[in-house]
Protein backbone atom coordinates (compact mmCIF):
# COMPACT_ATOMS: atom_id res chain seq x y z
CA UNK A 1 0.00 0.00 0.00
CA UNK A 2 1.26 3.46 -0.76
CA UNK A 3 1.65 6.14 1.88
CA UNK A 4 -1.47 7.95 0.74
CA UNK A 5 -3.60 4.85 1.10
CA UNK A 6 -2.46 4.03 4.60
CA UNK A 7 -3.04 7.64 5.57
CA UNK A 8 -6.59 7.31 4.27
CA UNK A 9 -7.00 4.09 6.24
CA UNK A 10 -5.86 5.77 9.46
CA UNK A 11 -8.27 8.67 8.91
CA UNK A 12 -11.16 6.32 8.17
CA UNK A 13 -10.38 4.38 11.36
CA UNK A 14 -10.38 7.62 13.40
CA UNK A 15 -13.72 8.58 11.91
CA UNK A 16 -15.15 5.19 12.85
CA UNK A 17 -13.67 5.56 16.35
CA UNK A 18 -15.24 9.00 16.84
CA UNK A 19 -18.60 7.59 15.78
CA UNK A 20 -18.27 4.55 18.06
CA UNK A 21 -17.28 6.73 21.05
CA UNK A 22 -20.34 8.94 20.69
CA UNK A 23 -22.71 5.99 20.24
CA UNK A 24 -21.02 4.22 23.16
CA UNK A 25 -21.38 7.20 25.50
CA UNK A 26 -24.97 7.68 24.40
CA UNK A 27 -25.75 4.06 25.21
CA UNK A 28 -23.99 4.35 28.55
CA UNK A 29 -26.39 7.14 29.51
CA UNK A 30 -29.40 4.83 29.71
CA UNK A 31 -29.69 1.93 32.16
CA UNK A 32 -31.08 -0.44 29.56
CA UNK A 33 -28.22 -0.09 27.12
CA UNK A 34 -25.41 0.91 29.47
CA UNK A 35 -23.62 -2.43 29.46
CA UNK A 36 -23.30 -2.52 25.70
CA UNK A 37 -22.12 1.10 25.59
CA UNK A 38 -18.64 0.41 26.90
CA UNK A 39 -18.23 -2.32 24.27
CA UNK A 40 -18.99 0.14 21.46
CA UNK A 41 -16.46 2.60 22.85
CA UNK A 42 -13.98 -0.22 23.41
CA UNK A 43 -14.20 -1.31 19.79
CA UNK A 44 -13.64 2.31 18.76
CA UNK A 45 -10.49 2.47 20.88
CA UNK A 46 -9.19 -0.79 19.46
CA UNK A 47 -9.81 0.27 15.86
CA UNK A 48 -8.11 3.63 16.35
CA UNK A 49 -5.12 2.12 18.17
CA UNK A 50 -4.51 -0.62 15.59
CA UNK A 51 -4.86 1.82 12.69
CA UNK A 52 -2.33 4.17 14.29
CA UNK A 53 0.37 1.55 13.79
CA UNK A 54 -0.14 2.09 10.05
CA UNK A 55 0.68 5.81 10.31
CA UNK A 56 3.37 6.53 7.71
CA UNK A 57 6.95 7.26 8.80
CA UNK A 58 6.77 5.98 12.33
CA UNK A 59 9.63 4.39 14.21
CA UNK A 60 10.38 3.26 17.75
CA UNK A 61 7.82 0.46 17.57
CA UNK A 62 9.65 -1.62 20.16
CA UNK A 63 9.58 1.22 22.68
CA UNK A 64 5.94 1.81 21.83
CA UNK A 65 4.92 -1.80 22.35
CA UNK A 66 6.95 -1.99 25.56
CA UNK A 67 5.20 1.07 27.00
CA UNK A 68 1.79 -0.19 25.93
CA UNK A 69 2.39 -3.71 27.20
CA UNK A 70 3.67 -2.52 30.56
CA UNK A 71 0.80 -0.08 31.06
CA UNK A 72 -1.79 -2.61 29.88
CA UNK A 73 -0.57 -5.25 32.30
CA UNK A 74 -0.48 -2.84 35.25
CA UNK A 75 -3.81 -1.18 34.49
CA UNK A 76 -5.55 -4.46 33.76
CA UNK A 77 -4.25 -5.99 36.97
CA UNK A 78 -5.09 -3.00 39.16
CA UNK A 79 -8.45 -2.44 37.50
CA UNK A 80 -9.56 -6.05 37.95
CA UNK A 81 -8.54 -6.53 41.53
CA UNK A 82 -9.63 -3.21 43.02
CA UNK A 83 -12.70 -3.46 45.24
CA UNK A 84 -15.93 -1.91 43.99
CA UNK A 85 -15.75 0.54 46.89
CA UNK A 86 -12.40 1.87 45.70
CA UNK A 87 -13.53 2.56 42.14
CA UNK A 88 -13.61 6.36 42.52
CA UNK A 89 -9.90 6.65 43.26
CA UNK A 90 -9.09 4.33 40.37
CA UNK A 91 -11.05 6.60 38.06
CA UNK A 92 -9.01 9.49 39.47
CA UNK A 93 -5.76 7.59 38.87
CA UNK A 94 -6.51 6.58 35.28
CA UNK A 95 -7.82 10.05 34.56
CA UNK A 96 -4.60 11.57 35.84
CA UNK A 97 -2.63 9.28 33.55
CA UNK A 98 -4.61 10.57 30.56
CA UNK A 99 -3.87 14.16 31.59
CA UNK A 100 -0.20 13.32 31.96
CA UNK A 101 -0.17 11.77 28.47
CA UNK A 102 -1.69 14.94 27.01
CA UNK A 103 0.97 17.01 28.79
CA UNK A 104 3.70 14.68 27.47
CA UNK A 105 2.45 15.21 23.92
CA UNK A 106 2.49 18.95 24.51
CA UNK A 107 6.03 18.74 25.88
CA UNK A 108 7.39 16.95 22.83
CA UNK A 109 5.64 19.38 20.49
CA UNK A 110 7.08 22.35 22.40
CA UNK A 111 10.57 20.80 22.36
CA UNK A 112 10.43 20.27 18.63
CA UNK A 113 12.13 23.02 16.65
CA UNK A 114 10.79 24.68 13.56
CA UNK A 115 8.44 27.56 13.01
CA UNK A 116 4.86 27.02 14.02
CA UNK A 117 1.71 29.07 13.72
CA UNK A 118 0.68 31.01 16.80
CA UNK A 119 -2.49 28.94 17.16
CA UNK A 120 -0.41 25.75 17.14
CA UNK A 121 1.84 26.80 20.01
CA UNK A 122 -1.01 28.37 21.96
CA UNK A 123 -3.03 25.16 21.84
CA UNK A 124 0.02 23.06 22.68
CA UNK A 125 0.73 25.28 25.70
CA UNK A 126 -2.92 25.33 26.82
CA UNK A 127 -3.24 21.57 26.48
CA UNK A 128 0.00 21.13 28.41
CA UNK A 129 -1.12 23.31 31.30
CA UNK A 130 -4.51 21.65 31.57
CA UNK A 131 -3.09 18.15 31.17
CA UNK A 132 -0.37 18.72 33.76
CA UNK A 133 -2.80 20.22 36.28
CA UNK A 134 -5.18 17.32 35.74
CA UNK A 135 -2.30 14.86 36.18
CA UNK A 136 -0.94 16.13 39.48
CA UNK A 137 -4.38 17.12 40.78
CA UNK A 138 -5.82 13.68 40.06
CA UNK A 139 -2.90 11.99 41.80
CA UNK A 140 -3.56 14.05 44.93
CA UNK A 141 -7.26 13.18 44.68
CA UNK A 142 -6.27 9.52 44.39
CA UNK A 143 -4.02 9.78 47.45
CA UNK A 144 -6.79 11.42 49.45
CA UNK A 145 -9.44 8.85 48.56
CA UNK A 146 -6.98 6.03 49.12
CA UNK A 147 -6.57 7.34 52.66
CA UNK A 148 -2.92 8.28 52.25
CA UNK A 149 -3.77 11.88 53.02
CA UNK A 150 -6.27 12.19 55.78
CA UNK A 151 -6.57 15.90 56.41
CA UNK A 152 -7.03 18.65 53.89
CA UNK A 153 -3.84 20.70 53.96
CA UNK A 154 -4.50 24.35 54.54
CA UNK A 155 -2.30 27.23 55.52
CA UNK A 156 -2.60 30.99 55.78
CA UNK A 157 -2.47 32.87 52.50
CA UNK A 158 -3.03 29.68 50.58
CA UNK A 159 -5.30 31.30 48.03
CA UNK A 160 -2.68 33.97 47.36
CA UNK A 161 0.07 31.38 46.92
CA UNK A 162 -2.13 29.39 44.54
CA UNK A 163 -2.89 32.51 42.56
CA UNK A 164 0.79 33.39 42.28
CA UNK A 165 1.68 29.90 41.08
CA UNK A 166 -1.18 29.99 38.60
CA UNK A 167 -0.14 33.36 37.22
CA UNK A 168 3.47 32.21 37.03
CA UNK A 169 2.36 29.18 35.01
CA UNK A 170 0.42 31.41 32.65
CA UNK A 171 3.35 33.81 32.34
CA UNK A 172 5.76 30.99 31.51
CA UNK A 173 3.28 29.66 28.97
CA UNK A 174 2.98 33.15 27.52
CA UNK A 175 6.77 33.36 27.20
CA UNK A 176 6.77 30.07 25.27
CA UNK A 177 3.98 31.30 23.00
CA UNK A 178 5.59 34.65 22.31
CA UNK A 179 8.81 32.91 21.31
CA UNK A 180 10.78 35.63 23.12
CA UNK A 181 12.43 32.97 25.17
CA UNK A 182 12.78 29.27 24.71
CA UNK A 183 15.00 26.38 25.59
CA UNK A 184 14.65 23.28 27.67
CA UNK A 185 15.00 25.07 31.00
CA UNK A 186 12.03 27.30 30.34
CA UNK A 187 9.88 24.37 29.19
CA UNK A 188 10.87 22.38 32.27
CA UNK A 189 10.07 25.30 34.55
CA UNK A 190 6.73 25.75 32.80
CA UNK A 191 5.71 22.13 33.40
CA UNK A 192 6.91 22.16 37.00
CA UNK A 193 4.80 25.25 37.67
CA UNK A 194 1.71 23.65 36.11
CA UNK A 195 2.22 20.42 38.08
CA UNK A 196 2.74 22.38 41.28
CA UNK A 197 -0.47 24.30 40.68
CA UNK A 198 -2.42 21.04 40.30
CA UNK A 199 -1.08 19.84 43.64
CA UNK A 200 -1.71 23.12 45.46
CA UNK A 201 -5.19 23.46 44.03
CA UNK A 202 -6.24 20.00 45.23
CA UNK A 203 -4.55 19.90 48.66
CA UNK A 204 -7.02 22.11 50.53
CA UNK A 205 -10.12 20.37 49.18
CA UNK A 206 -11.74 17.96 51.62
CA UNK A 207 -12.54 14.34 50.87
CA UNK A 208 -16.28 14.91 50.68
CA UNK A 209 -15.81 17.19 47.71
CA UNK A 210 -13.49 14.81 45.85
CA UNK A 211 -16.18 13.42 43.49
CA UNK A 212 -16.79 16.88 42.09
CA UNK A 213 -13.07 17.47 41.78
CA UNK A 214 -12.45 14.17 40.01
CA UNK A 215 -15.27 14.91 37.60
CA UNK A 216 -13.77 18.33 36.95
CA UNK A 217 -10.33 16.85 36.25
CA UNK A 218 -11.99 14.30 33.99
CA UNK A 219 -13.47 17.15 31.96
CA UNK A 220 -10.13 18.96 31.97
CA UNK A 221 -8.29 15.92 30.67
CA UNK A 222 -10.83 15.69 27.87
CA UNK A 223 -10.16 19.31 26.99
CA UNK A 224 -6.39 18.83 27.10
CA UNK A 225 -6.72 15.82 24.79
CA UNK A 226 -8.83 17.88 22.39
CA UNK A 227 -6.26 20.71 22.36
CA UNK A 228 -3.37 18.36 21.70
CA UNK A 229 -5.58 16.73 19.05
CA UNK A 230 -5.72 20.06 17.21
CA UNK A 231 -1.94 20.31 17.49
CA UNK A 232 -1.44 16.82 16.07
CA UNK A 233 -4.21 17.26 13.51
CA UNK A 234 -5.83 14.17 14.96
CA UNK A 235 -9.61 14.15 14.48
CA UNK A 236 -10.29 11.24 16.85
CA UNK A 237 -8.58 13.09 19.71
CA UNK A 238 -10.38 16.33 18.89
CA UNK A 239 -13.86 14.80 18.82
CA UNK A 240 -13.45 12.39 21.74
CA UNK A 241 -11.65 14.97 23.87
CA UNK A 242 -14.19 17.71 23.24
CA UNK A 243 -17.17 15.42 23.85
CA UNK A 244 -15.66 14.29 27.16
CA UNK A 245 -14.75 17.87 28.06
CA UNK A 246 -18.33 19.02 27.58
CA UNK A 247 -19.94 15.92 29.09
CA UNK A 248 -17.59 16.09 32.06
CA UNK A 249 -18.34 19.77 32.64
CA UNK A 250 -22.05 19.02 32.62
CA UNK A 251 -21.59 16.08 34.98
CA UNK A 252 -19.51 18.24 37.33
CA UNK A 253 -22.30 20.81 37.46
CA UNK A 254 -24.91 18.12 38.14
CA UNK A 255 -22.82 16.81 41.03
CA UNK A 256 -22.18 20.23 42.49
CA UNK A 257 -25.89 20.97 42.24
CA UNK A 258 -26.77 17.72 44.01
CA UNK A 259 -24.67 18.93 46.93
CA UNK A 260 -26.08 22.43 46.65
CA UNK A 261 -22.57 23.82 46.48
CA UNK A 262 -21.52 26.05 43.63
CA UNK A 263 -18.34 24.80 41.99
CA UNK A 264 -16.45 27.91 43.05
CA UNK A 265 -17.30 27.00 46.64
CA UNK A 266 -15.87 23.53 46.24
CA UNK A 267 -12.65 24.81 44.75
CA UNK A 268 -11.95 27.94 46.72
CA UNK A 269 -13.55 27.66 50.13
CA UNK A 270 -12.31 25.72 53.08
CA UNK A 271 -15.22 23.50 53.97
CA UNK A 272 -16.10 22.18 57.38
CA UNK A 273 -13.56 24.37 59.08
CA UNK A 274 -16.16 26.35 60.92
CA UNK A 275 -16.60 23.49 63.40
CA UNK A 276 -20.30 22.96 63.01
CA UNK A 277 -21.25 26.46 61.99
CA UNK A 278 -22.73 27.45 65.31
CA UNK A 279 -26.11 26.22 66.48
CA UNK A 280 -26.37 24.46 69.79
CA UNK A 281 -27.52 20.87 69.71
CA UNK A 282 -29.42 19.78 72.77
CA UNK A 283 -29.90 16.22 73.94
CA UNK A 284 -27.48 13.35 73.85
CA UNK A 285 -26.68 10.37 71.70
CA UNK A 286 -28.54 7.30 72.92
CA UNK A 287 -26.88 3.96 72.18
CA UNK A 288 -28.76 0.77 71.45
CA UNK A 289 -27.50 -2.77 70.99
CA UNK A 290 -27.92 -4.86 67.87
CA UNK A 291 -30.49 -7.25 69.35
CA UNK A 292 -32.88 -4.45 70.30
CA UNK A 293 -32.46 -2.75 66.96
CA UNK A 294 -33.15 -6.02 65.13
CA UNK A 295 -36.36 -6.53 67.11
CA UNK A 296 -37.44 -2.98 66.37
CA UNK A 297 -37.14 -3.62 62.66
CA UNK A 298 -38.44 -7.19 62.65
CA UNK A 299 -41.74 -6.08 64.17
CA UNK A 300 -42.10 -2.97 62.09
CA UNK A 301 -44.06 -2.72 58.88
CA UNK A 302 -41.77 -0.56 56.89
CA UNK A 303 -38.02 0.00 57.06
CA UNK A 304 -36.16 2.49 54.93
CA UNK A 305 -32.44 1.92 54.67
CA UNK A 306 -30.20 4.94 54.09
CA UNK A 307 -26.76 3.73 53.05
CA UNK A 308 -23.78 6.06 53.09
CA UNK A 309 -20.05 6.02 52.67
CA UNK A 310 -19.55 4.10 55.92
CA UNK A 311 -21.29 1.15 54.28
CA UNK A 312 -18.89 1.31 51.38
CA UNK A 313 -15.81 1.54 53.60
CA UNK A 314 -16.92 -1.44 55.67
CA UNK A 315 -17.89 -3.42 52.55
CA UNK A 316 -21.11 -4.16 54.37
CA UNK A 317 -23.46 -4.11 51.39
CA UNK A 318 -23.71 -7.92 51.09
CA UNK A 319 -24.25 -8.53 54.79
CA UNK A 320 -26.77 -5.69 54.97
CA UNK A 321 -28.74 -7.07 52.03
CA UNK A 322 -28.79 -10.50 53.69
CA UNK A 323 -30.30 -8.88 56.76
CA UNK A 324 -32.85 -7.03 54.65
CA UNK A 325 -33.81 -10.22 52.84
CA UNK A 326 -34.59 -11.82 56.20
CA UNK A 327 -36.74 -8.81 57.06
CA UNK A 328 -38.57 -9.11 53.76
CA UNK A 329 -39.18 -12.81 54.45
CA UNK A 330 -40.87 -11.75 57.68
CA UNK A 331 -43.18 -9.47 55.73
CA UNK A 332 -41.45 -6.18 56.47
CA UNK A 333 -41.46 -3.70 53.60
CA UNK A 334 -37.86 -2.67 52.94
CA UNK A 335 -36.80 0.21 50.74
CA UNK A 336 -33.42 1.75 50.06
CA UNK A 337 -33.12 5.53 49.90
CA UNK A 338 -30.16 6.83 47.95
CA UNK A 339 -29.00 10.40 48.27
CA UNK A 340 -27.60 11.80 45.01
CA UNK A 341 -24.13 12.09 46.53
CA UNK A 342 -24.19 9.05 48.80
CA UNK A 343 -20.87 7.27 48.66
CA UNK A 344 -18.03 8.94 46.91
CA UNK A 345 -19.63 9.80 43.59
CA UNK A 346 -23.20 10.19 42.40
CA UNK A 347 -24.50 6.75 41.60
CA UNK A 348 -21.66 5.06 43.49
CA UNK A 349 -24.05 3.67 46.08
CA UNK A 350 -26.34 2.29 43.38
CA UNK A 351 -23.39 0.39 41.95
CA UNK A 352 -22.50 -1.03 45.36
CA UNK A 353 -26.07 -2.13 46.09
CA UNK A 354 -26.39 -3.62 42.61
CA UNK A 355 -23.19 -5.55 43.31
CA UNK A 356 -24.76 -7.02 46.44
CA UNK A 357 -27.81 -8.03 44.41
CA UNK A 358 -30.37 -5.52 45.69
CA UNK A 359 -33.11 -5.31 43.02
CA UNK A 360 -33.65 -1.91 41.43
CA UNK A 361 -37.32 -1.89 42.46
CA UNK A 362 -36.24 -1.43 46.07
CA UNK A 363 -33.91 1.50 45.38
CA UNK A 364 -35.33 5.01 45.39
CA UNK A 365 -34.04 8.50 44.73
CA UNK A 366 -34.35 11.36 47.17
CA UNK A 367 -37.40 12.84 45.42
CA UNK A 368 -39.16 9.50 45.22
CA UNK A 369 -38.81 8.49 48.84
CA UNK A 370 -38.70 11.62 50.98
CA UNK A 371 -42.46 11.77 51.62
CA UNK A 372 -42.41 8.12 52.74
CA UNK A 373 -40.25 8.62 55.81
CA UNK A 374 -43.12 9.71 58.10
CA UNK A 375 -44.84 6.38 57.42
CA UNK A 376 -41.70 4.32 58.05
CA UNK A 377 -41.35 2.54 61.38
CA UNK A 378 -37.59 2.57 61.22
CA UNK A 379 -35.10 4.52 59.17
CA UNK A 380 -31.86 2.52 59.24
CA UNK A 381 -28.98 4.89 58.54
CA UNK A 382 -25.86 2.91 57.67
CA UNK A 383 -22.70 4.97 57.65
CA UNK A 384 -24.40 8.04 56.24
CA UNK A 385 -24.07 11.36 57.98
CA UNK A 386 -24.30 14.70 56.18
CA UNK A 387 -27.00 13.49 53.79
CA UNK A 388 -29.41 12.93 56.70
CA UNK A 389 -28.44 15.97 58.77
CA UNK A 390 -31.66 17.94 59.44
CA UNK A 391 -29.58 21.08 60.05
CA UNK A 392 -29.40 21.37 56.29
CA UNK A 393 -33.11 22.22 56.51
CA UNK A 394 -33.23 24.16 59.73
CA UNK A 395 -29.99 25.93 60.50
CA UNK A 396 -29.02 28.70 58.08
CA UNK A 397 -25.65 28.96 59.85
CA UNK A 398 -24.65 25.43 59.01
CA UNK A 399 -22.19 25.02 56.13
CA UNK A 400 -24.46 22.41 54.62
CA UNK A 401 -27.58 24.57 54.91
CA UNK A 402 -29.73 24.24 51.79
CA UNK A 403 -28.35 20.91 50.70
CA UNK A 404 -31.23 18.57 49.87
CA UNK A 405 -31.26 15.78 52.44
CA UNK A 406 -33.10 12.54 53.08
CA UNK A 407 -35.68 13.20 55.80
CA UNK A 408 -34.71 10.19 57.90
CA UNK A 409 -35.44 12.21 61.05
CA UNK A 410 -39.16 12.12 60.19
CA UNK A 411 -39.37 8.35 60.55
CA UNK A 412 -40.96 7.03 63.74
CA UNK A 413 -37.65 5.56 64.85
CA UNK A 414 -34.15 6.07 63.56
CA UNK A 415 -31.31 3.61 63.99
CA UNK A 416 -27.89 4.93 63.06
CA UNK A 417 -25.05 2.52 62.45
CA UNK A 418 -21.87 4.48 62.97
CA UNK A 419 -18.27 3.72 63.75
CA UNK A 420 -17.76 6.30 66.45
CA UNK A 421 -19.05 9.53 67.87
CA UNK A 422 -17.09 11.84 65.59
CA UNK A 423 -18.47 14.16 62.98
CA UNK A 424 -18.92 13.22 59.37
CA UNK A 425 -16.72 13.81 56.40
CA UNK A 426 -17.65 17.45 56.22
CA UNK A 427 -16.80 17.90 59.89
CA UNK A 428 -20.32 19.08 60.70
CA UNK A 429 -22.16 17.94 63.82
CA UNK A 430 -25.33 16.01 63.00
CA UNK A 431 -28.49 17.00 64.87
CA UNK A 432 -30.20 13.77 63.84
CA UNK A 433 -28.00 11.76 66.18
CA UNK A 434 -29.27 13.73 69.17
CA UNK A 435 -32.98 13.36 68.41
CA UNK A 436 -35.27 11.62 70.90
CA UNK A 437 -36.32 8.98 68.39
CA UNK A 438 -32.76 8.22 67.30
CA UNK A 439 -30.73 5.29 68.60
CA UNK A 440 -27.04 4.90 67.90
CA UNK A 441 -25.68 1.47 67.00
CA UNK A 442 -21.92 1.82 67.26
CA UNK A 443 -19.54 -0.37 65.33
CA UNK A 444 -18.16 -1.22 61.94
CA UNK A 445 -21.09 -1.53 59.51
CA UNK A 446 -20.05 -5.02 58.45
CA UNK A 447 -19.87 -6.34 62.06
CA UNK A 448 -23.08 -4.64 63.03
CA UNK A 449 -24.95 -5.99 60.01
CA UNK A 450 -23.70 -9.46 60.99
CA UNK A 451 -24.93 -8.99 64.55
CA UNK A 452 -28.31 -7.76 63.32
CA UNK A 453 -28.56 -10.83 61.12
CA UNK A 454 -27.71 -13.11 64.06
CA UNK A 455 -30.26 -11.42 66.26
CA UNK A 456 -32.91 -11.75 63.59
CA UNK A 457 -32.22 -15.46 63.12
CA UNK A 458 -32.60 -15.96 66.86
CA UNK A 459 -36.10 -14.49 66.97
Amino acid sequence: MSGIDTQWLVKAAYFAAAFLFIVGLKRMSSPKTARGGILWAGVGMLVATLATFATPQMENFILMLAAMGLATALAWWSGRRVAMTDMPQMVALYNGMGGGAAAAIGAVELLGDGEHALAFITLAVAGSIIGAVSFSGSLIAFAKLQGWMRKPLRFGGQQAVNLVVFLATLALGGLLISGEAGGHDLILLFFLAALLFGVLMTLPIGGADMPVVISLYNALTGLAVAFEGFVLDNAAMIIAGTVVGAAGTMLTQLMARAMNRPLSNVLFSAFGESGGGGGEISGSMKPVDAADAAVMMAYGEKVIVVPGYGLAVAQAQHRLWEFCQKLIERGVKVKFAIHPVAGRMPGHMNVLLAEAGVPYELIFDLDEINNEFPSADVALVVGANDVVNPMARTNPESPIYGMPILDADKAKNVVVIKRGQGTGFSGVENALFFNDNTRMLYGDAQDVAGKLLQALKGL
Partner: protein, 101 residues
Protein backbone atom coordinates in the same frame (compact mmCIF):
# COMPACT_ATOMS: atom_id res chain seq x y z
CA UNK B 1 -3.57 21.86 11.19
CA UNK B 2 -7.27 21.93 10.44
CA UNK B 3 -8.22 25.37 9.15
CA UNK B 4 -9.15 27.81 11.92
CA UNK B 5 -12.88 28.18 11.52
CA UNK B 6 -13.39 24.55 10.61
CA UNK B 7 -11.63 23.67 13.86
CA UNK B 8 -13.98 25.97 15.78
CA UNK B 9 -17.03 24.39 14.15
CA UNK B 10 -15.86 20.89 15.04
CA UNK B 11 -15.12 22.01 18.58
CA UNK B 12 -18.56 23.58 18.96
CA UNK B 13 -20.52 20.66 17.54
CA UNK B 14 -18.58 18.09 19.55
CA UNK B 15 -19.13 20.15 22.69
CA UNK B 16 -22.89 20.27 22.11
CA UNK B 17 -22.86 16.53 21.52
CA UNK B 18 -21.20 16.03 24.90
CA UNK B 19 -23.76 18.22 26.66
CA UNK B 20 -26.64 16.42 24.98
CA UNK B 21 -25.36 13.00 25.99
CA UNK B 22 -25.15 13.88 29.68
CA UNK B 23 -28.21 16.12 29.87
CA UNK B 24 -30.77 13.50 30.85
CA UNK B 25 -28.85 10.82 32.67
CA UNK B 26 -30.36 9.16 35.75
CA UNK B 27 -28.24 9.63 38.88
CA UNK B 28 -27.70 5.88 39.04
CA UNK B 29 -25.48 6.09 35.96
CA UNK B 30 -23.38 9.11 36.90
CA UNK B 31 -20.42 7.15 38.22
CA UNK B 32 -20.31 4.59 35.38
CA UNK B 33 -20.67 7.40 32.86
CA UNK B 34 -17.88 9.44 34.42
CA UNK B 35 -15.76 6.34 34.27
CA UNK B 36 -16.85 5.69 30.68
CA UNK B 37 -15.94 9.19 29.56
CA UNK B 38 -12.66 8.75 31.42
CA UNK B 39 -12.04 5.73 29.19
CA UNK B 40 -12.94 7.67 26.04
CA UNK B 41 -10.29 10.34 26.58
CA UNK B 42 -7.85 7.44 26.66
CA UNK B 43 -7.83 8.07 22.90
CA UNK B 44 -4.90 10.31 23.79
CA UNK B 45 -3.04 7.03 23.27
CA UNK B 46 -3.08 7.42 19.48
CA UNK B 47 -1.55 10.88 19.81
CA UNK B 48 1.12 9.63 22.18
CA UNK B 49 1.90 6.77 19.78
CA UNK B 50 2.40 9.19 16.89
CA UNK B 51 4.59 11.44 19.04
CA UNK B 52 6.77 8.52 20.13
CA UNK B 53 6.79 7.15 16.59
CA UNK B 54 8.19 10.40 15.29
CA UNK B 55 10.60 11.06 18.17
CA UNK B 56 14.25 11.52 17.22
CA UNK B 57 16.22 12.68 20.25
CA UNK B 58 16.59 10.64 23.42
CA UNK B 59 14.65 13.24 25.39
CA UNK B 60 11.74 13.06 22.97
CA UNK B 61 11.79 9.27 23.13
CA UNK B 62 11.74 9.30 26.94
CA UNK B 63 8.83 11.71 27.10
CA UNK B 64 7.06 9.86 24.30
CA UNK B 65 7.52 6.58 26.16
CA UNK B 66 6.04 8.09 29.31
CA UNK B 67 3.19 9.51 27.24
CA UNK B 68 2.33 6.15 25.65
CA UNK B 69 2.61 4.42 29.02
CA UNK B 70 0.28 6.88 30.73
CA UNK B 71 -2.19 6.95 27.86
CA UNK B 72 -2.39 3.16 27.59
CA UNK B 73 -2.95 3.01 31.35
CA UNK B 74 -5.80 5.51 30.98
CA UNK B 75 -7.43 3.52 28.18
CA UNK B 76 -7.03 0.02 29.61
CA UNK B 77 -7.74 0.92 33.23
CA UNK B 78 -10.70 3.06 32.19
CA UNK B 79 -12.16 0.20 30.20
CA UNK B 80 -11.72 -2.45 32.88
CA UNK B 81 -13.17 -0.31 35.63
CA UNK B 82 -16.14 0.86 33.55
CA UNK B 83 -16.93 -2.65 32.34
CA UNK B 84 -16.86 -3.91 35.92
CA UNK B 85 -19.23 -1.19 37.10
CA UNK B 86 -21.65 -1.82 34.26
CA UNK B 87 -21.56 -5.58 34.96
CA UNK B 88 -23.57 -4.69 38.03
CA UNK B 89 -26.48 -3.53 35.93
CA UNK B 90 -27.25 -7.00 34.69
CA UNK B 91 -29.96 -8.22 37.01
CA UNK B 92 -33.51 -6.96 37.34
CA UNK B 93 -33.17 -3.96 35.09
CA UNK B 94 -36.56 -4.62 33.49
CA UNK B 95 -38.60 -3.83 36.56
CA UNK B 96 -36.80 -0.59 37.24
CA UNK B 97 -38.58 2.56 36.32
CA UNK B 98 -36.31 5.32 35.18
CA UNK B 99 -36.29 8.39 37.32
CA UNK B 100 -37.05 11.69 35.68
CA UNK B 101 -33.71 13.23 36.47
Amino acid sequence: MIDGFMALYIFMLAAFTGYEIIGRVPVILHTPLMSGSNFVHGIVLVGAMVVLGEADTTLEKVIGFIGVFLAAGNAVGGYVVTARMLEMFRSGKDGRKESAE
